[in-house]
């Protein structure tokens, strides 16, 4: 099989046990990485090792197991801090995932600082997780939700954004990379423009964190959120990076243990950052295993993986364009390794069923971006998304399977 330059894709594949399984009697071709990435053995081992050797509740116990669990849990926080270029572990809050991170900000920041008539700006490309929490807080605070339009290729209308900004703009919450189309949004410019009006900016990094180099200080964003399971880590753990002064100004999101300093029936004082936002026993095992996911990326190097993924994207784009009636949605230069497409006269669900029978996992449907699909005038797309372990051969299998499926359907 292939070795692309120094990129030994087979050695990488060997780290992922799931990739050797069969689906419907065929070799699994996993191209649904934008939904969740598969896990290297190091991540799986970290979970097993934690539960087998030092399972304990953290931060309060005074025994050896608690010490080891606490140290490893906090080492994960430090790894995340470096992963996103934050300056302090106090600015890294562990959550359940991107969705909870956004809900935390919408609730803790939104309910404290939004007033009637204030404006929140999002984009037409948002995942439902970056729409619904803002609709909920906007309804409660009588604030207004505004949406930056896109063109037919999914490119944001920055002139429209500029004209939306004003003294009423209080919050801008934007997706860094579109999960449905893979398009990279100009978040640096969005942040700079929003800050001219003192608006607070959240960047949804669910799709960007695994592909792009992230430095929250260079980006200048106020919040950056992502999920562990999309960066080769476990499900059930996510991250909220927040600027220290903002996190300090926000009330807690949930009350309980861990987040308190002192509790009396008359009054409670809250713990310091980051613990103020981590009420209750956290997801210790998954947080610990998240570090193994980050280490996997760092060991190969994000730029090296990105180069491999770009090769796959370029190859797949050219191959897919040869298929009659197939149209790539969001066929732009500035994108990550995601191809979303429609085929004339073919429902994406039919394609998914037939591809599954050939061992291929792709995502079809609206990708939790119904307003975007509505804007583009389609019911959904078929999406193939590539990761560090995918190969050129797998794209050939996809193309062949697609041709066969279309022959059956049309």
């Amino acid at each position: 099989m292939e070795t692309e330059g120094t990129y030994d894709v087979q050695a990488i594949r060997a780290q992922f046990p799931i990739l050797s399984r069969k689906v419907k009697g065929k070799d699994l071709v996993y191209l649904d990485n934008a939904a969740t990435a598969q896990k290297p053995v190091a991540v799986i081992d970290a979970l097993v090792h934690y539960y087998s050797h030092y399972n304990a509740n953290i931060h309060r116990g005074l025994h050896t197991l608690a010490d080891e669990a606490t140290a490893t849990y906090e080492a994960s926080r430090a790894a995340v801090m470096h992963f996103v270029g934050a300056s302090s572990t106090d600015e890294i809050i562990f959550t359940k995932g991107t969705t909870e991170s956004i809900n935390l900000v919408a609730n803790a920041w939104g309910k404290s600082f939004l007033q009637e008539g204030d404006e929140i700006i999002i984009t037409s490309l948002e995942h439902h997780a970056n729409i619904v929490p803002w609709q909920m807080v906007a309804a409660e605070k009588k604030a207004i939700l505004r949406v930056i339009p896109i063109d037919d290729n999914g490119i944001l209308d920055m002139e429209a954004f500029k004209s939306m900004l004003g003294p009423k703009t209080k919050f801008v919450s934007v997706v860094h990379v579109s999960n449905a189309l893979g398009i990279i949004n100009p978040v640096e410019e969005i942040i700079r423009l929003a800050h001219e009006y003192n608006a607070v900016v959240l960047v949804d990094g669910a799709q960007s964190s695994v592909h792009l180099d992230i430095d929250v200080q260079t980006l200048g964003c106020d919040f950056y959120v992502f999920s562990g399971h999309k960066i080769y880590g476990p499900t059930g753990v996510g991250v909220l990076y927040g600027r220290r002064d903002l996190l300090e100004s926000m009330p807690p999101y949930q009350g309980g243990g861990e987040m308190i300093k002192e509790v009396r029936f008359e009054h409670t004082t809250y713990n310091e950052l980051p613990f103020k936002f981590e009420a209750g026993t956290p997801n210790i095992a998954d947080v610990i295993a998240l570090k193994a996911g980050i280490d996997f990326i760092n060991t190969i190097g994000k730029a090296v993986i990105r180069k491999h993924e770009e090769t796959l994207l370029e190859y797949a784009t050219a191959k897919l364009k040869n298929i009659k009636g197939l149209r790539i949605i969001g066929d732009v230069k500035n994108k990550v390794s995601v191809i979303s497409f429609v085929v004339d006269g073919v429902h994406p669900q039919d394609l998914a069923i037939l591809l599954d029978n050939q061992g291929i996992a792709v995502r079809t449907g609206h990708h939790c971006t119904q307003p975007l699909m509505h804007r583009l005038g389609i019911v959904g797309t078929t999406r193939a998304s590539f990761a560090a372990y995918n190969t050129i051969e797998e794209i050939d299998v996809l193309v062949e399977a697609l041709n066969k499926s279309l022959k059956m359907l049309l």
Partner: protein
Amino acid sequence: MTNHKTIKNIEQELIDDFSLFETWEEKYEYLIDLGKKLAPLDPAFKTEDYKIKGCQSSVWIHSHEKDGLVHFAGDSDAIIVRGLVGLMITVLNAQPAKEIVNAPLDFIDTIGLSSHLAQTRSNGLRAMIKQMKMDAGVLG
């Protein structure tokens, strides 16, 4: 029309048909063919009222009672799902309401289509059957 065949009879015929298929391709070509041949649903019924919620594709089922039997018509914008609609209509159409409500429909597993009953939002068969049984319950 008098109904000669019971639901069980029709299920057995389908089991016999499907037993002839040796590959997954043949099975799905049969469903696609069934989808293409399904009589179109009167556009008057292709509305939100008759749409089944929770499917990745749009599925519409219309039912009415005549001479003590429940009749179904349906449609989908996805062809394989349309085939599944056709399959369920083949089995349940023009049967007594009570028979429809109580049908275990275990033939779906026997013919190897139980993956379409999976509890994901993308598969419509489960929701389709639930709706047909509910309609029969109301009409019966």
